[in-house]
Amino acid sequence: MTKRVTNHPTTRRGFLNLAAAGTVAALSRPAPAAAAEKTITILHESSFIKPFDEYVVNTLAPAYEKETGIKINYEVTSVGSLPTRISTIAETGSGADIAMNGLLQVIQFGEKYLDVGDIAGDIGEAQGGWYDAGREAVLVEGKWKAIPFSNIGQLMNWRTDWFAEVGVKKFPETWEELHEVGKKLKAKDHPFGFELGHGFGDNHGWLYPLLWSYGGAEVAPDGKTVVIDSDETARAVDFCREFFKDTMLDDVLGWTDVSNNKAWMAEQISCTNNAESILWFAKREFPEIGKVTDQAMNPAGPKGRFHLLNSISHSIFSFSPVLEEARAFMRWLMEPKQLGGWYAIADSYYQPLLHGYDNAPMWSVEPRNLPYRDALTSVHLPGWPAPASRQLAESVAKYVVIDMFAKACAGASTKDVIKSAEAQLKGIYRSA
């Protein structure tokens, strides 16, 4: 009688007993034999060029698995969420073995990354040497904490047909000249549209170069002294205010990264700063607009011509359980056969930082992309000429330089905006 009560499922006690017994039985089943196959997980941010990601999954990963038997797990995270994803992996110590870095992650996570100087050295030697920009992007206290992959250049995109209407056949050489052309084009209802809001790339792509081309800088090369309050900065700010007022749509003050692409395809603007995505997209979806879209290097200021180093690199997490396999994989990935194919599939959206690719066939596919290659000798990380540091990352994340220019364009005085940027930087660099 007792036995029936305790084990029959229709009584409450019976049900609980059966459930407990079942759970114990399930948990005590011997674990399946550990998989002999090794896996390397690579984290990448979703590329604007879809074929680029597909190339890894469909071509590179299967090829490597065939050669070595190691599975490559290509994890893609949405645009803008790379810093968060890497933070999680670095903090928890698991989740991926190799990570793609944007322009700030090498400095922020350098301590969790393997020193890959030997691999990078060999690659550089074999493929024509690294651009200085490559070194700038990955050196942390003299150690190579990542293998440079590419720059994603942010350059001038311009409408050849509308520029021709005001008599301009070649893209202007200087900011002042561009300003004059812009005035004429705005009068003809074809204004410029440069991002001045809180995006990730299209704002940095022209505002830092603008500052540098007038001789301004946030912090001195010693990495400690805040030098933003200078005549050079004031001249850059004054220019930016006039440039905005005379040539641009008012709305740019609130633009984020997608806004100028949208505006271009809607034929709202005649000039902007962007990666190659506008031309790439226009050629495929809006061929008529694609025909009249051209690209050019940033205009020069009194102190030179500059571009943003929007670097992409790959790092190996030092806590990865498959360190040797990851190192071997990186060597394989960066060999000309794999690397060349991977670069080529994205046209030249990713500009190689190895001199060996200066005359690669990928550049002759679309001659309008050549300025992105020519810009590689004048690219710098935001915060230059100070070395990369966590303070630099804080300044970028807080939009110090962006808001300085944007507030001036919105009407604030040059003195005020520089003073407030200086106060912010002094606060950020107090611990430098």
């Binding site: 922020q108 609130g254 912010q424």
Partner: protein, 301 residues
Amino acid sequence: MIANAARRRAPLAVLLDRQSVFAWLMMALPLAFLAALVGYPFFYGILLSLQDRPVAHVGTFIGLKNFQTDLHDPIFWQVAINTFVYTGVATALKMVGGLCLALAMNQHFRMKNLVRALLLLPFIVPTVLSTVAWLWMLDPAFSVVNRLLVALGWPKPGPSWLGDPTLAMVSIIIINTWRGLPFYGITLLAGLQTVPPELYEAAAIDGAGGWHRFRLITLPLLRPIILIVTLFSVIFTFADFQLVYVLTHGGPQNATQLFATYAFDIAMGAGQLGLGASVALAMLPALALLIVALTIYLRRD
């Protein structure tokens, strides 16, 4: 025989039969859940805010230095003002609008249930999706509002909703109100339906007009519900993140930067987890005061 049977009952069963023990046992699981998913992050956040903690580095205890840094950061003050203005105005609009909505929905008309269901849509649609739709609506080049205004004589291309700092704040308040009205409306509607119709009938017999009936019967009886809904709404709006992140990411020039988005930029963008935690925790005093004030007000009734 009976005595034997009583002694044979297991001591555990006797214990469980006591209501106090049983009650705590039932609460144990939800309490554990809360402790793990709410309590632990909260206390860890306080710990973080007292440290200099760059991401992927070991933290060093620095006491209240992060909060000092915040107090000297002009952006922090702008963020505080933005958040209070955003919460205050949006909540006021939602309260009034929600009440009107509830009163209207309380009437009888054909397709009443369908309309009630449709009205819930802004609240149910994921914020990120609806905000992206608003992004298109607020772009002067594509905005239906701007088209209308320009047709009525406004200089082309119409107001820059996300480029002008004031208009950007107006925009996020409008979108938040649009999103939150159904929450207020449906909850207040539920409250309205608990008001006994005899009270209205008695008041009508006594000669009270519509406005008097509303002011002297509906409002007092609805007050507890209005307060509860306001409490929830204020907490959600104060800590709002998705709307601002997708629409403007805090721009233009930090005009729409809120505590949550600023804390995220500092913690995840700059990699300063301690400083970011201190900004997020800054929300606590204001919210705590509000909750205490509202609870006292409620208890008084």
